[in-house]
Symmetry: C2
Subunit: 239 residues, 2 copies
């Protein structure tokens, strides 16, 4: 094979790109290093020049994910025209809007990320994402406590609960995908809608707000997300 020398940063990003594609489609364990280096058109020596191990590659991938996700919500956090409740709602709304707007790619990503063989991958991404998001949430909650909007004695704990709720939808969606049939999907959609409403009220009460203050998603949004996904899958099958 001819020797090709590229800018180190570019090479690194390329490796991450191909690794991401393979990890998501085949799972972290099933996708081999040989697959990755073959896709990237690179030798084993080159790979180990950039990453100390397969695990280090996974870590770097998770960190890149977290960085990108964080960039998507940074402007909400910086918006000075929002009060703490508005900020929190915007943050929740943004994370849901991102799921709908970027439906095609995002769903391909989520659909694979939710498969059981991607547990490790998913967990690592969440770990990195939590490390980025938690401080933001804590700051917002602290602001709310100071100006009297929120009432709680453990802002870090509440931030963790918010993130827990976000992740908990994982298992429900995973079940919906696992089932496969349209009936399973419909059941899963209803369960998810109900669950989102529960999370809203739970957060209201944990933060000492009147019921209905927190808005994670307006009614029907779960169905919108899921049906968007179904159409996407159908389109793919037709192609």
């Amino acid at each position: 094979m001819p020797r090709v020398i590229k800018h180190p940063e570019l090479r690194r990003e390329e490796l991450l790109d191909h690794a991401q594609a393979l990890f998501l489609t085949q799972g972290y364990d099933k996708a081999s290093l040989n697959d990755v280096i073959a896709a990237a058109g690179v030798s084993k020596g080159a790979f180990y020049h950039y990453f100390a191990s397969k695990d280090a590659l996974l870590l770097a991938l998770a960190e890149r994910f977290a960085r990108q996700a964080l960039a998507g919500v940074q402007d909400i956090f910086d918006d000075p025209g929002l009060d703490p409740l508005g900020r929190l709602n915007s943050l929740l709304a943004q994370s849901r809007r991102a799921k709908i707007d970027t439906a095609p790619e995002a769903w391909a990503l989520f659909e694979t990320l939710f498969r059981p063989e991607n547990l490790v991958l998913f967990h690592r991404i969440n770990l990195a994402a939590s490390a980025s998001f938690s401080p933001l949430l804590v700051k917002i909650i602290r602001q709310g406590i100071e100006d009297g909007t929120f009432r709680t004695f453990d802002p870090e704990g509440v931030a963790d609960i918010v993130m827990q709720f976000g992740m908990a939808t994982h298992d429900i969606i995973a079940k919906a995908f696992a089932g496969g049939s349209d009936a399973d999907m419909d059941v899963a959609i209803e369960v998810l809608e109900k669950r989102v409403r529960l999370y809203e009220i739970a957060l209201d009460r944990i933060l000492g707000l009147p019921d209905g203050s927190i808005r994670i998603g307006e009614p029907g949004y779960v169905r919108a997300v899921m049906t968007a996904r179904r159409r996407t899958s159908a389109d793919k099958a037709r192609a």
Copy 2:
């Protein structure tokens, strides 16, 4: 090697025992099948006679864990002298008492189970445990709704939140163990105590109960658990 024939059930349990020991000390991925069969004093053929794959072994192990855990709380669920709130509190209290009473073995188990390389193992056990516990919790919550004690429109959702709270302590304890120093441990204990109180109030409000109804652990219990663990570790180090 001489051929030894044992009662199938005994052989199976032996394999599970040795697998458990190895998975917990080295992690699921790191502990190889060869390690397991060497520890059990069995050939590869014998292993595959009992388990279809390494994954099947993990599944069987998780199910055995879940069965044992469930057996420990079954009598609380069967006690006719308890109202729903009492039943729920007893269940939470029991799961915490189990952690203290069986401190030496349980802590050795938890300490290893909380290590990052045991993510897969931990998740599988939780999956199996959830499948067993959730229906119990749902039944109790349903009873409470019927007799007017609890007020919620999503008993399954609340049951999931209860289990989430139970598992969420995982990360905090893991951090405490990761730190290692006594100062880290003291900080972790305080965080955990505060978090437990948050979870109590959160559950009160989610279930429409007056603050202070749910009792996960009396003040100081976390410290009792953690110091019990520290003594155990110190004893081991001395031996």
